[in-house]
Symmetry: C2
Subunit: 187 residues, 2 copies
């Protein structure tokens, strides 16, 4: 293993540890020391690789909205597409889940996380679907769609409300999709 490989491996270990702690305990309660401890490296190394706690958080907390999938969905497909996007983001890939959780966990208390959540996640997703919803209320309906999805996501993965955590994907589809259809298509 070359030195460059070792360096990349160490950096990846630090990043994963940081994502887990930011996702679980939030920004303020995770310390450089605790991240270094979990990653098995020296705290000074974390600073050397990432510069500051803020930059480490920026590299850790990410949310990827699938614009292509959302943008190409028809109005009838929108609810199912939005729900599928949630499942893909939070249950399929570990890396993506931890990064998204790290952002969502801190979006109410960390200034930059709040900005990313509002501008790069919510408003972007809203813009991607408002056109296919159409009508006078398009923006509002797109916003409500996103708000409901965020609420379900928070209740299920962060607050861990038993009724939500205990629901299967089919349960959620059965209960949620008809409601979301009413949001995107009042007719």
């Amino acid at each position: 293993m070359t030195r460059e490989e070792r360096r990349r491996r160490t950096e990846a270990a630090i990043l994963l540890a940081a994502q887990e702690q930011f996702a679980e305990q939030g920004f303020e309660r995770t310390t450089i020391r605790s991240v270094a401890g979990q990653a098995g490296v020296d705290p000074a190394l974390v600073m050397q690789y990432f510069g500051s706690k803020e930059q480490l958080f920026g590299a850790s907390a990410r949310w990827t909205v699938d614009h292509k999938m959302l943008g190409s969905a028809t109005r009838e497909e929108l609810p199912a597409t939005a729900l599928a996007d949630m499942f893909e983001g939070f249950e399929d890939d570990v890396q993506r889940r931890e990064a998204a959780l790290a952002l969502l966990r801190n979006c109410l208390t960390h200034p930059s996380a709040a900005g990313v959540m509002r501008d790069d996640v919510m408003c972007e997703a809203q813009a991607a679907v408002a056109g296919t919803i159409g009508g006078d209320d398009a923006e509002l309906r797109a916003g409500v769609l996103g708000a409901c999805m965020i609420g379900v996501t928070i209740a299920r993965y962060l607050l861990e409300i038993p009724a939500l955590t205990g629901a299967t994907r089919e349960d959620l589809e059965r209960v949620l999709l008809p409601a979301l259809r009413q949001v995107v298509d009042p007719g």
Copy 2:
């Protein structure tokens, strides 16, 4: 003004300042010093009255769910009742709004706030309406109803998504109520 009155007034001023800062900046970013400064008192006085920052937070962050109103609503009335509860809690009374915001702002990052939010708000509200929803999915439907309401509340009052903050009460009723009716009554 008697000494007891003065004491109560001072305590109320401290509590209001604490609620505003907990609601706006979150638990970690508000300090005893800043609360005392805004209230115009000495930091030591805050400690003397409330014991600790944790207890001050406990007294500041409160959420009152109107069980009576929710519990006595028919299934048809449930969506409108839930929405009315949100507006009453967040737009009518200043004290109640700041207390609720203080809890909501911190419910993802502060352990005790998370517990109160899950157990005393979400699960309580869920239990209050599950009976009137009925059917096999009653608990899940009640949970989804609460999750959507929380999502809209967060998007509107905390994340301040333009499409949500710009909506009037009538806008939200028009867009949201038909969807919530689908949640509580799939028939």
